[in-house]
Symmetry: C2
Subunit: 593 residues, 2 copies
């Protein structure tokens, strides 16, 4: 990988002791200029590293004089000889740390004005200014490292799939609007005025058609688009690792994707264990209060409905009478929490719609533990014993209880409390990578606003064979051949075995309330396609931005995207979206409303 060019013999990241005496020419950006008793030192920086450069008036007076006016971020070319740094002045942490280049020639390739943002590793610049000057922000070591890591992930992904016989096939960006779920970005057509393309929310239909064409192993690192109101971790355009396979069941998909993760993490020198554990959606909700459980720590939710029912706490007994449930998590060692801290926990539970948070502390002696605090009085000695047993309580523990007539409120509120506590108590091992497959998702969920069922994954997901009979009669009970992969409590992606029967696909469209003409205009060509020998197939899609962010240990996906947009879907760097000429609008047959 020689990177010598017309301008340089070496990069700033490779010269070492072995090069002592060599004549070299380097290019890069000036950093940390120091003028010490006549000698001028600075670092020359490029993507590959930094090299210390020295100008000595005794060595070359003209070059030394030229170096005097150098400022940070000037981009220059220097020529000189590699020499060993004086003892005690070397930096063993970097490969170039034992040498310096004593220079006799300097060419300023371009001067730099004072950089308007702070481009040190720990920047003090606001995110807004960082994004406006993204091309400078991208000079920061940590951001460059992220972009390089992302490249490695993508390269490992492509190598892996190629080895497994997958073909990378490009699908259109100018596609058809089929709004179901998120909003489409629209593109007015100039040639067909009044008509619009849509940017794809995913290549879903195209990849299914490729299966029908016989390309049994497809992959694409695909750009996708959703015009949503952005949460902190969403972008209007994002990239997914998009996969589809024919003649497969769920096991085949799991195996292929576990192999992928193994190779991806190997590319960044992390060894992970496969196969990944699995959990059903129902269990994940019951035990972790989440469909993407973080299993790096315990603190599972325990159902204490039977105990609560027998308590004298009216809220609990009523909850059970109304068909609800009561659950408890054990915050180990947290009996010492102040009232303020416990109030904070209740606030978290309430954010997730819990009506309140009951709590008891475990006190007493090893041989005689007892509950104290707010809710203790409602539990008889026997019930206290049962409760402590259920959650394996020890002295010093804090038991947190939520009851509600809606089961999912209990699960989610305690699940979120569990995560909050894990962070607060630093229970989460930093360097652990805990993958888990979440399987057997419900096929549909009831949308209270739309007053109809909607597909939980998407309407192309196959029901489980044993639940097929309930599709039109009891749709909310139907489980799907759908799966998600969660990593450390984050959903990396998901997929399903697809429907390949025209009849079942039509029934699913009906079950989610699509009308015949809608089905025909949006998905008619897909249903048509199913007539001509569609094979069984399934696939998955992973969010590449999220995966890269996790590998880079970044909270925000913007840190692993070269030119991200703000939460407001703007690019502050080139000011887009922007106004366009009326002439341009005329040509595509639209006007502003």
């Amino acid at each position: 990988m020689a990177k010598a060019t017309a301008y340089r013999t070496n990069t700033c990241g490779e010269l070492a002791l072995k090069d002592n005496g060599k004549k070299v020419t380097l290019c890069g950006w000036v950093q940390h200029v120091k003028n010490l008793g006549g000698l001028i030192f600075f670092y020359l920086k490029d993507r590959y590293g930094i090299t210390q450069v020295v100008f000595d008036p005794k060595n070359d007076a003209d070059a030394h004089k030229a170096a005097e006016s150098l400022k940070r971020e000037d981009v220059i070319q220097v020529t000189g000889r590699v020499r060993t740094r004086p003892q005690g002045q070397d930096n063993v942490e970097i490969i170039t740390g034992s040498i310096e280049v004593i220079c006799d020639r300097i060419t300023v390739l371009n001067k730099s004005e004072t950089i308007p943002i702070d481009i040190e590793e720990q920047t003090t610049t606001t995110e807004e200014m960082r994004l406006k000057y993204r091309y400078l922000d991208l000079r920061r070591n940590c951001v460059q490292k992220n972009i390089i890591t992302r490249h490695k992930i993508v390269k490992a992904t492509r190598d892996y799939f190629d080895k497994q016989g997958f073909l990378e096939i490009e699908t259109p960006i100018l596609a058809k609007s089929t709004p179901e779920g998120a909003r489409d970005y629209l593109v007015p057509s100039r040639v067909h005025k009044g008509k619009f393309y849509a940017l794809p929310q995913s290549p879903q239909i195209f990849k299914q058609l490729l299966m029908l064409s016989g390309f049994d192993r497809y992959v694409q690192i695909a750009r996708c688009f959703r015009d949503e109101d952005l949460r902190a971790d969403r972008q209007p355009e994002f990239t997914q690792i998009d996969v589809e396979m024919s003649f497969v069941d769920e096991e085949n998909v799991y195996e292929i994707m576990e192999g992928l993760m193994k190779d991806v993490f190997k590319a960044v020198d992390v060894k992970i264990k496969t196969p990944f554990p699995r959990i059903t959606f129902a269990d994940a909700m019951a035990k972790y209060g989440s469909d993407k459980p973080d299993v790096r720590f315990g603190m599972q939710l325990k159902n204490i409905s039977e105990i609560g029912e027998k308590s004298s706490f009216k809220i609990f007994t009523e909850t059970i009478k109304n068909g609800g449930s009561i659950k408890c998590i054990n915050a180990r060692g947290c009996a010492k929490f102040s009232r303020k801290e416990v109030d904070e926990l209740e606030k978290v539970a309430k954010i997730y719609d819990a009506k309140g948070l009951a709590w008891v502390k475990v006190e007493g002696t090893d041989t005689k533990k007892k509950l104290e605090g707010m809710s203790a009085k409602f539990f008889s000695e026997e019930l206290q014993k049962q409760l402590m047993e259920k959650v394996s309580a020890n002295i010093g523990d804090l038991l947190l209880i939520v009851g509600d007539h809606k089961h999912h409120i209990v699960d989610i509120a305690l699940g979120q409390l569990r995560l909050f506590l894990a962070k607060k108590l630093e229970l989460i091992p930093e360097d652990e990578w805990s993958f888990i497959w979440v399987v057997d998702f419900p096929m549909m969920e009831y949308d209270e606003d739309a007053k109809r069922h909607i597909a939980m994954h998407h309407p192309f997901t196959s029901p489980k064979d044993e639940d097929m009979g309930m599709l039109l009669t009891d749709p909310s009970k139907v489980r799907a051949k759908a799966y998600d992969l969660a990593l450390n409590g984050v959903e990396l992606g998901g997929g399903s075995i697809r429907i390949h029967s025209r009849e079942i696909q039509e029934n699913v469209f009906k079950a989610i309330g699509l009308k015949d003409d809608e089905i025909k205009s949006k998905f008619g060509f897909l249903l048509d396609a199913f007539k001509y020998g569609a094979p069984p197939h399934g696939g998955i899609a992973f969010g590449l931005d999220r995966l890269a962010a996790m590998v880079c240990k970044e909270e925000n996906i913007r840190e692993v995207i070269a030119f991200p947009k703000t939460k407001n879907a703007e690019s502050l760097m080139e000011s887009s979206p922007s106004n366009v000429d009326n002439e341009q609008l005329d040509e595509v047959g639209v006007k502003l409303k």
Copy 2:
């Protein structure tokens, strides 16, 4: 690369003599069913090949019965044993040709209705129907082969650049409208009503900013968009191999790209020679009448202005008086052309704006050649001799002459005639790959309609150092550090060393007539960026679709795109562009005009 799945033990392309006796399960599509005296034979086909399958009532009566109702393109699963085909019935041309599978189990995975198009290799179906049923058209062997070859080209490209230390970095698709050249596709913003994103015509500005960020080696297989009236070989969205490098000159770019071509062709088992020859733009036009010369054959254009000037042909003498030129090509052995054939040649010349085509035939004996035909009389014996010498004429040759006061009309008309003749005479060696760099392009050309100079490549291209002084005084004389790579007469791509000085960039914008406020609103952020230590840089972009089409020996890039659009920018398969709900338009703040 094991492709066994829950549904199959093997693919249809791998079983061979060594598998004799093995119990296997295969999946695929039914082809060529033959019912021969009780035995039912057919081919089972998948992406990997075909395997002959046999059902024998003596072997399994039920399975045989089930096989009786099979029809072409049904997708099935069969289980049976591999056995050697009877002698004389084997097909040595395919790996599976020596075996067949005698089956005792069959599962119909999906029936197929009669396929509405002809999916044989040599299809009789119109392109319109092929595109409407593209998912079936993609089952054709030749189309599948193209898609697989494209995958190999892309994989080889990525492997090569990774090895050379390039990073693949994704740039935005939702970008800013900066119309210069082709029309932008626009995307109305919902969040910022009245404003628009534009789909990028290329990642040009983003990749230059990445150089400024210090990523000295960038590559991207990038989707690009141009809303143009489509020629046969254009698509509204297309893919380019997009490259940019810092601290490089032209030589560095040539070397890197020659290495790429070497690896790409190696991936499809073709060995090519590097380095590629080079020709200046001026020479290419003068000798081949093209800026993408096909150098697989001779028939170069010869300037005979001096001879024509002395002739008695008034059109020629006037042409020279008006500052024009006269050129000639030698169509060897074409003196036998009929009048009709010669008229056809004149028609070709006239398409490219020649006012006429003069021609003479070389007759006589070896020791005494002379010119005959239409224009012979205008040339004295001495001039005839000079002319024949100039174009190395032999008996039986046909000399074709064009004169015009516009030099480029002479060049282009004869250049096109040269190509036309080469095809007609089958002069072009089929399996030769002739690359050539075309260099020293003019910086600008004068746009007669716009009445101003426009950038020939794009406005970020650097003028040659020695021509820099003429930028504002004599722009049409300025040559650029620009280069194209042509292959067999087709432009594969082009690029340039870019401007990295704010001052020069501003001067170029001025030279092409951009006003100050336009410069500011469209490119202000780029000029700003140049303030902060922009390194010298350059790059190139290759059309991937075109490259893949050439490797696949396809005339039309649609043959190497999975889901192409028509010349009319439509997708006939999913009917896009399409109408959208008014509600969708309301949301993004536009209405139809």
